[in-house]
């Protein structure tokens, strides 16, 4: 079976004098329905890789495909949540949440009723008709996450989706995400710099080196799902987390 995400010898340099080599020699795969995380320090090129897969950046060289389609030639193959969420200031929360689905051709009624159900679940109940400027940073991020999941694509690209959330909300979102993922089994590529988050959510975790970013290590997170506190506080989890942190530190220095 063809992998959902396949990246081969990918390199990208942003134009400039001198050009900024963001990523280099990136090779990775994600099987269909697999949850894969990408951890690395800030500015290491994680977001660049995600943008290439979203079709927003045409890489300098190499190959990238999403669900059998060449990501360097097509756009809109995956559902993509940019860093910081990014909401349209002139759409109310509910309309923002359904934007991806609407653009993908889902009927407005269907998209709206689906979104309404999830607002409560996301701790956004009662804020359906709020403007983004009236929402807290964490709420804005959850609306953006909702929008990404409501976009009917089998592959989802998330760029630090929980960055602005407090620890408690973050845990709730982890539980929600695991639940949804277990039901729908969509392929997820998840960018974070939080090692514990990566191990909790993922099947596999890639470690990216500092710029120019390349993948230097790969870990498998073998714990049974759903993964809650008991797993996160187990000695096995702590050991793996230690190894991952070591790899991350080695890659970032």
């Amino acid at each position: 079976m063809e992998p959902a995400i396949e990246v081969e010898n990918l390199a990208h340099a942003y134009p400039g004098k001198p050009p900024v080599q963001a990523v280099m020699d990136v090779n990775m795969v994600a099987a269909e329905g697999e949850f894969v995380s990408l951890v690395g320090s800030s500015g290491c090129g994680k977001s660049t890789l995600l943008k290439v897969l979203a079709g927003l950046i045409r890489p300098t060289s190499g190959h990238a495909s999403v669900d059998g389609q060449d990501a360097t030639q097509s756009i809109g193959v995956a559902a993509y949540m940019p860093q910081g969420g990014v909401l349209l200031p002139w759409l109310r929360a509910l309309a923002n949440a359904t934007l991806g689905a609407t653009i993908a051709g889902v009927g407005r009624k269907e998209a709206t009723s689906h979104a309404r159900e999830l607002f409560e679940r996301f701790g956004l109940g009662g804020f359906e008709s709020a403007w983004p400027s009236e929402l807290s940073g964490g709420m804005q991020q959850r609306v953006a996450l909702l929008r990404t999941f409501l976009t009917p694509r089998s592959t989802i690209l998330l760029d630090e989706p929980f960055g602005a959330l407090d620890a408690i909300t973050r845990r709730e979102m982890h539980a929600w995400l695991q639940d949804v993922w277990a039901n729908e089994r969509r392929t997820v590529l998840f960018v974070t710099h939080d090692v514990e988050e990566a191990l909790t959510l993922s099947d596999r975790v890639y470690v990216m080196s500092k710029r120019p970013g390349t993948l230097v290590a790969e870990f498998r997170s073998p714990f049974p799902r759903p993964r809650g506190r008991e797993i996160q506080t187990s000695p096995e989890f702590a050991t793996l987390k230690g190894q991952l942190l070591d790899a991350l530190e080695a890659a970032s220095s």
Binding site: L56, Y80, V86, P89, W90, I103
Partner: protein
């Protein structure tokens, strides 16, 4: 002429809309009343001749005396202003869209647009009267010429300044050009468009009046010239006050439309009326 209306921001605790209104406009009203009172007193004490500076009470009398003809003049000027402002705004938006979508158009047209603003209206208005006659047309053209530019400049800037992240987001969703226009470019240009339209609204009435000074059959400009040549300075002041009120009304109307059209820009600022 610059008119600044500061809209309600700070809310008095427990105050209703009437209280808020008072809190916002009371200081300005008090200042105005004080100035008019000072003016009246000054003229009475110094015994200034009324053709030099009429007392506010005389201006009020002149208003009552000529009130029969004033609605006609005011309506004419309002008509010219609205028509010119409407066409000017449309032209500004059309040119802005053209100039932001085709680079060569921007390079060819922008210098021309700027040159059009360097010609003093006072010089152009008589020429327009020669070309278009004494009817409403030359006045509308003057208003159009003074109003399209602020709309053009601020709409152009707003279109060029549209958030790249939002455009990228829509692209990542596979949006068409039309969808990107509808969901990102248009809404992000609206606040800029209205900022330009507010300035244009403040200029529109003045533009119409200047054009009327060069020859007209009706209008506040005509009323002012006639009064001036008859040394009816009190009536000149009536004209000035009406021009100011008309400008204010237009400015306020644009602000209200702005609020209705871009509700998100006013969200969470304490006033949702």
């Amino acid at each position: 002429m610059t008119v600044a209306i500061d809209l309600p921001r700070a809310r008095l605790p427990g105050a209703g809309s009437a209280g808020r209104f008072l809190a916002n406009y009371l200081p300005a009203t008090l200042l105005l009343v004080a100035l008019v009172g000072f003016w009246e007193a000054w003229v009475q004490v110094r015994n200034t001749p009324s053709y030099v500076l009429p007392a506010p009470s005389l201006v009020w009398e002149a208003f009552l005396r000529t009130r029969g003809t004033l609605p006609g003049h005011t309506l004419t000027t309002l008509n010219e202003s609205l028509l010119g402002l409407g066409i000017g705004a449309l032209a500004g938006v059309a040119l802005a869209s053209l100039m932001t979508s085709v680079a060569i158009v921007r390079r060819v047209l922008y210098p021309l647009m700027i040159v059009s603003q360097t010609i003093p209206m006072i010089v152009l208005a008589p020429l327009l009267t020669i070309w278009f006659g004494f009817g409403i047309e030359p006045k509308v053209v003057v208003v159009l010429l003074v109003t399209f530019f602020p709309v053009l400049v601020s709409t152009t800037e707003a279109l060029l300044g549209a958030d790249r992240n939002l455009i990228a987001l829509l692209q990542s969703m596979g949006a068409t050009r039309l969808q990107t226009l509808r969901y990102v470019l248009l809404p992000s240009a609206l606040p800029g468009f209205f900022a330009g339209l507010r300035i244009a609204a403040a200029y529109a009435v003045t533009g119409a009046v200047i054009a009327e000074l060069m020859g007209a059959q009706s209008g506040l400009g005509l009323y002012i010239t006639r009064s001036n040549s008859a040394f009816r300075t009190d009536q000149v002041f009536v004209g000035i006050v009406l021009v100011a009120l008309l400008s204010l009304a237009l400015f306020a109307a644009v602000h209200i439309i702005n609020r209705l059209a871009t509700p998100w820009a006013f969200a969470g600022k304490g006033d949702n009326s």
